[in-house]
Amino acid sequence: MNPGIRRLLQNPASFLTSAPSDGVCISSRIRLSRNLAGTPFPLAASPEEAVRVVDEVKNACSRPSVIGCPECLFFDIESLDDMEKLALTERRLASADLITSPIPAAVAVSGDESCAVMVNEEDHLRMQVLHPGFRLEECWKQIAALDDELGDELDFAWDDELGYLTACPTNLGTGLRASVMLHLPGLVLSGEIDATVHGINKLGLAVRGIYGEGSGNLGHLYQISNQVTLGESEESIIEQLSAVIRQIVEYERRARVKLLREDRFSLLDHVGRAYGTLQNCYRLSVNEALESLSGIRLGVELGLFQHLGIGTVNELFVELAPGHLQIRSELALPEDEQNILRAKLFRTKLRERS
């Protein structure tokens, strides 16, 4: 196994470590898109140009203090096997586009996994800072410092009027995308989610499932992010998003309280069935695992379980994914066998706790 991947897998995924939690916001992320001046964007770059970009960014990242070096890890995507690539996406350190890139691509990851710099995704650099809980301001401080440090080493494509130049005009200007992952079972169960999503869209923000566009509301998880990147400062974009997030958190909490008060047995049934499924199943798909785990997460947040903590829920959330599951078993398995193994993982973990 790749030694860097082995090191990452020794620890829980950083975005799910326990943080001061409001019970709704799971994680916060900010990413910045940057390109190197004078080199075609990855989509139009030749393999030689792509290799040069990887080398340049690698050099810049290996300077002391940049993204937590010397503890920083650097992965050439071609050097990883399929399971290792998947594990990076499951820890949210690489995107699906990066691991399937037709040209040489790479990712630099800080030892604590809070920072990552993807190289040759849609843009030459996609740097991100990822933290558990609702911590956009902290993400911003950290990524602004990283941007300055890398910007001292690398000549970023820049225009005085248009700002940072990106491969897609939807990222132009600040190149900033801030997003928060929210767990909204209260709004889903009470039927208020459609109106909420519609309202968020009207404010010019995007709502997506956790596995990107088109993944629906799997596990009652939603990612909310800004769409506008040009014409507003980074601070103002982040503040506007934060204001909306605070409001949604409030709605979700109210919905949960209301359900507990007015529809207690539906809520208990939802949580109890999820727990029963995960504790007793012998075949478990990723989707069913995520759906049921959402019910358990809700139960834990409402204090319905005595022996089960949010730590176990978070650990299972990453361990259930195909890459992690297969690496742990040290075998590449067909889907049905993954489902059997996943069911075993849940039975074991949840029986330990009951």
């Binding site: 390109n35 989509l43 139009a44 300055d148 001292d152 820049w158």
Partner: protein, 188 residues
């Protein structure tokens, strides 16, 4: 209002598309909109950026492949500018869902990109941080403001008000940044 597609659920998403100068509005419910999105009809922004750019290409005299399958490629290649640095054309941009080939493309295709930016962004001028090496120093920003103020005066006297407004926004953004660097808020 009911959804135009299923005619059952309430429409919550309203799309206005301009085709050949004609405005077509579509009203969809969340589910039908999701379907349309999955089938590639909608981009991340509720519309397909590539189609926006492509439709702009059409109004500029190029033909769509659907209309003239044989000559489309030739027609577009002939009338589209070609980026001198990466060789990108409007057709390539369309195939890449509105993405550009290199930073020079922003100049080569400024007309099309400008229209796309107007659709997806809130402003036309970058406000916010700049690379340190591009002079995020007090004197660097002051010099830039001086230069822009001359540009603003020139634009006003030439009655180019749209350009003047852009330059003014840029000046305000720089003043804002100057204020922050000085640690004393926005200076008038």
């Amino acid at each position: 209002m009911l959804c135009d597609k299923c005619k059952k659920r309430e429409a919550t998403i309203h799309i206005k598309e301009v085709h050949d100068g004609k405005c077509i509005s579509t009203n969809l419910c969340t589910e039908c909109a999701k379907e349309k999105e999955l089938s590639g009809g909608l981009g991340a922004f509720g519309f397909n950026l590539a189609e926006v750019i492509f439709n702009m290409g059409k109004t500029n005299g190029t033909k769509s492949p659907e209309e003239e399958p044989q000559s489309a490629e030739v027609g577009e290649e002939a009338s589209s500018p070609v980026c001198p640095r990466c060789g990108w054309t409007l057709e390539k941009m369309r195939k890449a869902a509105g993405k550009l080939g290199c930073s020079e493309c922003y100049h080569t295709f400024s007309k099309w990109v400008g229209m796309a930016v107007e659709q997806v962004q809130r402003g036309k001028v970058h406000v916010g941080r700049r690379p340190r090496r591009r002079g995020r120093t007090l004197s660097g920003i002051r010099l830039e403001i001086d230069r822009l103020q001359l540009e603003l005066a020139a634009a006003v006297s030439a009655e180019e008000y749209e350009k003047a407004a852009q330059v003014r926004d840029r000046i305000n953004a720089l003043k804002n940044e100057l204020g922050k660097l000085n640690g004393e808020g926005v200076r008038k």
